[in-house]
Symmetry: C2
DNA sequence: TTGTAAGCGTTATCAT
DNA sequence: ATGATAACGCTTACAA
């Protein structure tokens, strides 16, 4: 592997000159530039990434922490981050957080120790306080899918409340009034918000929601199955169901089918996230679009702006959810 | 950030001694070891990753190239790689290859330039020849999901032929004889192999397969839809369908439903890969298990053995496929 | 505009 | 067992 030294020798200039042309510095004569380029080409020179990082204190790598690598939701984040990052000629160091606070903390420490220039975080277990402190530190941090008032500039988020509000409101406006809800785990802030959106839609419509039509699950298909089973066993009738995510909605649809509850004829179902497989389901799932891929890309732009000084970038912190209607919903019709 | 120098000063020993305890060298007295550890703890010392990489010529990072980051198939690879890598305290630099040879080549060059210690590749466009040459180079390379005879030791793979053979054979043995096939793009080696498995099952059963019951698609739902539509339009009857992957099978199921073809009563369907959402579909999809996650983990072990000298690891290059029967298949019953 | 030389924070090779 | 000291390949004042 040729080094900068050999390039300088072949080009007949100094190290610094070579370095300057590598980094597009101003104040280099066309002549030396040409000589250097020629030498580089001849030697098939490739700058040593590690050496540059050490000398410049800039690794051009961004740490990305997500709860899990696979799964449609996080996949979408990673793919957005990776593609936007490679546009900027930076790269992602991706780690998964596991399922408890300690692992998330370790993962963050790991990324910092690896000299990541900035961190993109998508975490559930770590406290607001820690995140606030972290973001005051020397490593830039941007947080996806979570809103923390004190560091709102560092957050890229949607209104989860609004999302489930839209879903519930739609059903309410289309004649449904007995609307069940399968929630995410209520220690997660987004699950709380989504639940609140459901409630708010009722409040705004001036009608009470029924606590008994409500079930706290865990965002998984297993939980969704349990939820629907329990709801059905209750014998409290409902003509619609909103689920806090698509996974659970898909499980609920399956349980409905197993129990001869037709979707949407007997029960309309709306999910949340608009994960890609929601369109593969039968019936195709109506859901709330969660622009997670866009948010991931915005997180990268945030890093470009705040860590790499691309000042002209404008950051959008909040994104909009949107109801996407497919086959799993219909207007309420009174049973004859 | 404290450096090794400050640790040495506080501990009252030399740089080298600190370095030695950091790297668990033998021949360090318990005494100095203790002093150094104490100093490290007091200063909350964290070794500089970049400096270590430069000095030791070892970055502890492994480049991972996949065609795309999202999608159930590649997701599974990434999650396997990441989790196994973090067990070994190494990390992944993940990039996606895009959809042509040039991008894949660029991506590989990018990873090499980033001083990755080894590469885990999952590529479609790059030629065997290039891969063979690459693997003779100084950067260790392991290839997932592809078999190249000349460098079979560097490959982690399944027999795609066997997989679709199992699927087709099963149908044949259960009374079906008019079995359609929707193929992947036939410029991909795995698509060819899978197609050949389908054919071989017929040959082995001594019956001819019908070219007209065969459609070349592209592994996507769009292609699967087209394929099923075309097959149905043909008017050549078939009672079973094997698809070269689950995406296409899911699309085929949908088209079947739209055309009042009941699955499995009128048509059994088998997919390939056993992607996680295949169990979410209705009916749940029978398919061929492709142990892609295990292969990904094995690829990491390969790297550990071949690049990091963990000699005692034993590598399994070939993995087995397996038929998993769910709801989309049934024994052939003659129409009355 | 160009070159010299001092870092960047380690590891590794020698002596001792 | 320990300590100097020279790499590792580059960036970056500072000088010229």
């Amino acid at each position: 592997m040729p080094t900068i030294y050999q390039v300088s020798e072949l080009a007949g200039v100094s190290l610094s000159s070579v370095s300057r042309v590598m980094n597009n510095h101003e104040h280099v004569s066309e002549k030396t530039k040409a000589k250097v380029m020629a030498a580089m080409a001849e030697l098939d020179y490739r700058p040593n990434f590690t050496a540059r990082s050490l000398a410049s204190n800039c690794s051009n790598s961004i740490g990305v922490l997500v709860a899990e690598i696979s799964g449609p939701f996080y996949s979408d984040i990673l793919s957005g981050v990776e593609s936007e990052l490679s546009n900027a000629n930076k790269h992602a160091v991706i780690v998964s957080g596991g399922c408890d606070e300690k692992k998330e903390l370790d993962a963050i420490q790991f990324l910092i120790d690896r000299n990541c220039d900035a961190l993109i975080l998508c975490v559930d277990f770590i406290s607001d306080e820690y995140l606030i402190k972290l973001s005051k530190g020397s490593t830039k941090v941007v947080i996806i899918n979570r809103y923390i008032a004190e560091i709102s500039d560092n957050c890229i988020f949607i209104s989860n409340l609004l999302g489930s509000y839209q879903a519930t409101k739609y059903l309410l406006e289309n004649g449904h009034s007995n609307i069940a809800y399968i929630s995410g785990p209520l220690w997660k802030i987004d699950a709380i918000d989504r639940f609140n959106g459901y409630k708010k839609a009722f409040t705004d419509s001036g009608i009470d929601f029924d606590e008994a039509l409500t079930f706290e699950a865990d965002y998984t298909t297993i939980g969704g199955r349990e939820g629907m089973l329990s709801l059905l066993k209750n014998k409290k009738p409902f003509t619609a169901l909103v689920c806090a995510n698509d996974e659970m909605a898909s499980a609920a649809m399956r349980v409905a089918r197993e129990n001869n509850v037709r979707v949407p004829q007997d029960c309309s179902i709306i999910g949340f996230d608009n994960v890609y497989f929601s369109a593969y389901l039968f019936p195709q799932l109506s859901t709330i679009e969660n622009p997670i891929n866009k948010m991931a890309r915005m997180a990268v732009l945030w890093v470009l702006k705040n860590r790499y000084n691309q000042k002209d970038i404008v950051i959008q912190n909040q994104f909009d959810t949107e109801l996407v209607l497919r086959e799993s919903t219909q207007v309420y019709v009174e049973k004859t």
